[in-house]
């Protein structure tokens, strides 16, 4: 094989790869950004920075939620560092307050007041108390979670952290980063942790 044919074959491979990965009509990342910044406008608390992706959102979008393992682990480690555990080391709050937070789906939209108390939207995606039949199925059922996992320090730390930043445990999870995004307060996450783990909570009855 001459040098020229080698170059030609590499050229052909590159063209084939480009053709399989990108359809010609597909917008480039830059074009997509132009469309987003031109066609969306800030409204209420939903400012334009929300259309810009952070590394987690970008990697998950580009890989259709299946990032390469190395990158996934590295970004999960970064996300783990964002989690702020309560200074008083008390991770379980009041499950009764937690139940109300789990049921409320308000917060963070352009209609919601920025200083209003947000909900956790938990029931939108998870089954929790067996007494609440209106639950979503995008996330796994958490009914009996505390009964299965116990409510010791490890379980508490895991549940609190998972609610605070779900992406630290499963990078492309569909679950919002409730603490990291500023949706829920420390006390609210404590109350939700109790709702999931407390033996007295209806979730564990």
């Amino acid at each position: 094989m001459t040098k020229k044919t080698i170059c030609l074959s590499f050229g052909a491979i590159a063209v084939t790869l480009a053709a399989t990965q990108f359809s010609i009509a597909e917008p480039t990342p830059k074009e997509l950004q132009t469309v987003l910044h031109r066609d969306f406008h800030a409204k209420g608390q939903a400012k334009m920075d929300r259309v810009d992706q952070d590394p987690v959102q970008r990697v998950c979008t580009e890989t259709h939620d299946k990032p390469p393992v190395g990158l996934e682990k590295a970004l999960e480690a970064d996300q783990l560092k964002t989690i702020v555990l309560p200074a008083d080391n008390q991770l379980m709050g009041d499950w009764k307050r937690g139940e109300k937070i789990a049921a409320s789906g308000t917060g963070m939209t352009w209609k919601d007041k920025p200083d209003a108390v947000n909900g956790g939207s938990c029931y939108n995606c998870h089954q929790l108390s067996p007494a609440q039949p209106s639950f979503g199925t995008i996330g796994p059922s958490l009914t009996g979670f505390g009964k299965k996992r116990g409510h010791g320090p490890d379980a508490q730390k895991y549940v609190y952290s998972k609610i605070y930043n779900a992406k630290a445990f499963n990078l492309c999870s569909q679950m919002p980063r409730m603490g990291y995004s500023g949706t829920l307060t420390e006390q609210q996450i404590k109350d939700l942790t109790a709702y999931v783990l407390d033996p007295a909570s209806p979730v564990n009855q």
């Binding site: 009509a25 917008p27 997509l32 469309v35 066609d39 995008i138 919002p176 980063r177 995004s181």
Partner: protein, 270 residues
């Protein structure tokens, strides 16, 4: 028309009450489906279509003209079957347009409204629906029974479809959601609401062919532009502009995915 509006409210009220009762007592999937059958059998959608037909023919705007010469893609004045072929590329505007953005074009060119006037109040409420909602119901209803045939033959149409697909899977916002977060996996629900997978023909066909839709819970007819707008609100995004390239592209993506299905709207929603 007042009598007509009164009966709409009565029917809507009865349905809303039925909705509450059904929700309170029965929560199983079967009961939801039963309720959906019940509501689709006695939907007030036709009253919206009638009002829309009147508006279509009414002489309005600075030019005191009707919309009867509006070209929805099948020639001036052809309404029958037009919705099943939208969105599509329009030479006169040089844009791919959905029904609603095209109606805005006709209101400006034929009737002489400014674009700001034509889009001032596009989303109405139960007491006072918008002109756009009436018009969308009328035009869409004229495609009932027509097979969805949205073209991606022209480069502009293909590009719009691809842009829609990109936007559909674009994760961002406070909660990291894309459209696919809710509409990307088979058999999922938010609370009791089943979620169609709109990136696949099976899900897109059943859903796209029943929008615009009369929402029993709010006694209002809602358009596709509204549907997309409210999805982005729930995604915690900023607001997309009405009839923008982004929202038309998403409509295009879903419409093409629904190709081959028979248009059966405006439908009835929860």
């Amino acid at each position: 028309m007042r009598a007509l509006r009164g009966s709409v409210l009565l029917v809507a009220g009865a349905l809303a009450t039925a909705a509450t009762l059904v929700r309170a007592d029965d929560t199983t999937r079967q009961e939801i489906q039963k309720y959906q059958r019940m509501t689709s059998e006695s939907s007030p959608v036709e009253l919206w279509e009638l009002q829309g037909a009147d508006l279509w023919k009414a002489k309005r705007g600075p030019k005191n003209a009707s919309l009867e010469r509006c070209d929805l893609g099948m020639g001036p004045g052809v309404v029958k079957g037009a919705y099943a072929h939208l969105p599509r590329y329009f030479k006169d505007t040089g844009r791919v347009q959905d029904l609603e953005s095209r109606l805005v074009t006709c209101m400006t060119t034929l009737q002489g409204f400014t674009e700001a006037e034509a889009t001032k109040r596009v989303f109405g409420n139960a007491d006072n629906p918008s002109d756009m909602e009436y018009l969308a119901a009328y035009v869409a209803g004229q495609s009932r029974g027509t097979k969805m045939q949205v073209s991606t033959k022209l480069p502009q149409e293909k590009e719009t479809y691809e842009l829609g697909k990109k936007l559909f899977f674009y994760r961002a916002g406070s909660w990291d959601f894309s459209c696919a977060s809710c509409h990307g996996t088979e058999g999922k629900r938010i609370r009791m609401q089943e979620l169609p997978v709109l990136s696949e023909p099976a899900g897109a066909r059943g859903t796209y062919t029943t929008w615009p839709g009369y929402r029993v819970s709010v006694s209002q007819l809602k358009t596709m532009q509204w549907r997309i707008n409210d999805c982005f609100r729930q995604q915690r995004f900023p607001e997309p502009a009405y009839g923008s390239e982004a929202t038309v592209a998403l409509t295009m993506f879903m419409a093409v995915n629904a190709n081959g299905a028979t248009y059966n709207g405006p439908g009835t929603k929860r």
